[in-house]
Amino acid sequence: METQVAVSRQRPQRRLGDVVFSGAALAAGILILVSLAAVTIFLIAQSLPAFSADPSDVSKDGRGFWSYVVPLVFGTVWAAALALLFALPLSIGIALFISHYAPRRLALTLGYVIDLLAAVPSVVFGLWGITVLAPAMQPIYSSVVESLSWIPLFAGPVSGTGRTVLTVAIVLAVMILPIITALSREVFLQTPRLHEEAALALGATRWEMIKMAVLPFGRPGIISATMLGLGRALGETMAVAMVLSPSVIISFALMTSQNPTTIAANIALNFPEASGVGVNVLIATGLILFLITLLVNSLARFIINRRKEFSGAN
């Protein structure tokens, strides 16, 4: 006891190199704090004029900031939710295929191929969406609208170009596929081997094994992967800006030429020509987008942190 106390009292010698190096490391860490604080402060500072601006300066119809923002928020959430609807089942399927169905040798390569999708720049996705996907989808849209227009989702008049919110959602789904796939694959691979073998030993088929052992284990991972994908879809700019033929409305119709646009796309399209309080309005919408994605991402992190077991899920 006595000696231990004596040892801990003995201060280690402080070397100059140590002080400088650890100081630099600490400074870098603090710089992250500062820069994030700066992002928030500057965005708030630049968007304050928008909240108090004269309504007629904010938008053409002169109904003020909030009536300008609400349709944008709706469009952002709507497009992202649709994208998630397509991407989630597909990516769980792909993740299962890579982790439990494909031959071991092939699995790594296949995973890499899907990761390549994540590396494609969004502007290229936008270009692809508008030159390939939109024209290809247009005939399908017109036949669907012709036969099913009594369902509000498929209400007419059909878009002549295919540049609808549904096309955007498909492009967004392709973009967030690799994110959700990568994370869920990681979690599926961490399913305890014994659970899987126990299920198989009881005579379960492969699907029953997956249903009983893999999916319950991976559920938190899937949820957080979904949230991260959603965060990406909410903030995606160029693909939406290029593909969508936008208007500021709230509408659930998927295949018309009147589509609710998203915050990010609206900023990208209007920023280069904006001036005066218009700039502040756009920055304010950016701040709202930041808050939405922050909320979604924090929720994802919260779920991940509650289950520390899968450390690989970044």
Binding site: R15, G17, D18, F21, S22, A25, L26, A28, G29, L31, I32, S35, L36, A38, F42, L43, A45, Q46, L90, I94, F97, Y101, A102, L110, V113, L116, A119, V120, P121, S122, V123, V124, F125, G126, L127, W128, T131, V132, L133, A136, V174, L177, T205, R206, W207, I210, G231, L234, G235, T237, M242, A264, P272, S275, L282, G286, L287, T293, N297, R301
Partner: protein, 360 residues
């Protein structure tokens, strides 16, 4: 007697009947044929102008999944048939996901090659209307802005990771970890708005220059670098640190001379992945770097063209000669894809070659 009784027992619980091996492959071939036949008919009847490959694949997958499910249900019973259904669905999910990738690469290559020529790589768009011109100014801009972003982000990112792994204790380090997570989720356009808001404060609201783009990209790049470096530093075996410290080496020298060199392969890989992620970013550069048609080597003054913004503007401001603009856009897109792919593949190779020795 006994024989018949066991016989009746067996018939009460019949052995699981299985479809003969190879049935599934035959079904797959059959459904592919059916689907191809259907779409060939469509083509000849004139409903579609040419053979619809995507439609063929999707319809074939649907027919195959349905057929195999029904056959298995009739012969093998409910449990096996749902197993077959799941296998079919999971596999077709993968195939369906490959379709956009293949289509995208195919379109980019076939359209991009039209203008993937010497002129594209040695001329700018200055005074070019219609055909001709190139993307040299955009390529230079992209390289300069990305290099500047890398110079800003890599030291900050690596030092933050060193702090988190080697020094960080308690609340501050937890807070930094959380904030790095938050930064990972910042939408790229918000990063652009931040850079704009920052520089507009000092230089007025009309500010557009390259270094602003670099700052915006750094906001996106730093968290990626921190994350990957942190992972790499964590797998450096503790024995190495302890051995070095036991020899009386100061801590900073241990980190610089022992820990970082051990993890250098993974760190370089992470940096390259981060670069490949930001090099294709369009939105922040559109806002703060702007667009120009001439060469601009100076990061600190005037608008600067970058490859993604070049692609975007070529598409969105098509002149009278539409095809020339589209061709340039696709050529730019192809250059971008090639750069990103090369960076990714190089990163994979480097991570194999420089893999930390001694771990796992």
């Amino acid at each position: 007697m006994t024989v018949t009784s066991t016989g009746s027992k067996v018939s009460a619980h019949p052995p699981m009947r299985r479809l003969p091996r190879g049935t599934m492959w035959a079904t797959l071939a059959l459904s592919a044929l059916l689907s191809a036949g259907f779409f060939t008919l469509l083509m000849f009847s004139g409903s579609t102008s040419d053979f619809n490959i995507v439609g063929t694949v999707i319809v074939a997958a649907v027919i195959y999944v349905a057929l195999s499910f029904v056959m298995s249900r009739l012969v093998e019973g409910r449990r096996r048939s749902s197993d077959r259904l799941a296998t079919g669905l999971v596999t077709s999910a993968f195939v369906v996901a490959l379709l956009p990738l293949i289509s995208l690469v195919w379109t980019a290559v076939s359209n991009g090659l039209n203008r993937f020529d010497a002129e594209f790589f040695n001329s700018s768009m200055r005074n070019v209307v219609g055909a001709g011109g190139g993307g040299l100014h955009a390529i230079i801009g992209t390289l300069e802005i990305t290099a500047a972003a890398t110079v800003i982000s890599v030291p900050i990112g690596i030092m933050t990771a060193v702090y988190l792994v080697e020094y960080g204790r308690g609340r501050l380090s937890r807070m930094i970890t959380t904030l790095v997570d938050v930064m990972t989720g910042i939408p790229s356009i918000v990063a652009g708005l931040f850079a704009f808001a920052l520089f507009a404060l000092f230089f007025g609201p009309g500010i557009r220059f390259g270094i602003g783009g670099a700052v915006a990209l750094s906001v996106l790049m730093i968290p990626v670098v921190v994350r990957s470096t942190e992972e790499m530093l964590k797998i450096v075996p503790n024995e190495l640190r302890e051995a070095s410290l036991a020899l009386g080496v100061p801590k900073w020298a241990t980190v610089v001379k022992v820990v970082l060199p051990t993890a250098i392969g993974g760190i370089i890989t992470g940096v390259m992945i981060a670069i490949s992620r930001i090099i294709g970013e369009t939105a922040p550069l559109l806002i703060i770097a702007g667009m120009s048609t001439s060469m601009n080597y100076n990061l600190f003054s005037d608008r600067m063209a970058t490859l993604p913004v070049f692609v975007y503007t070529q598409y969105s401001n098509q002149g009278a000669d539409t095809q020339a603009y589209l061709d340039r856009a696709w050529a730019g897109a192809l250059v971008l894809i090639v750069i990103v792919m090369v960076l990714n593949i190089l990163a994979r190779i480097l991570s194999k070659v420089l893999a930390p020795k001694g771990s796992r």
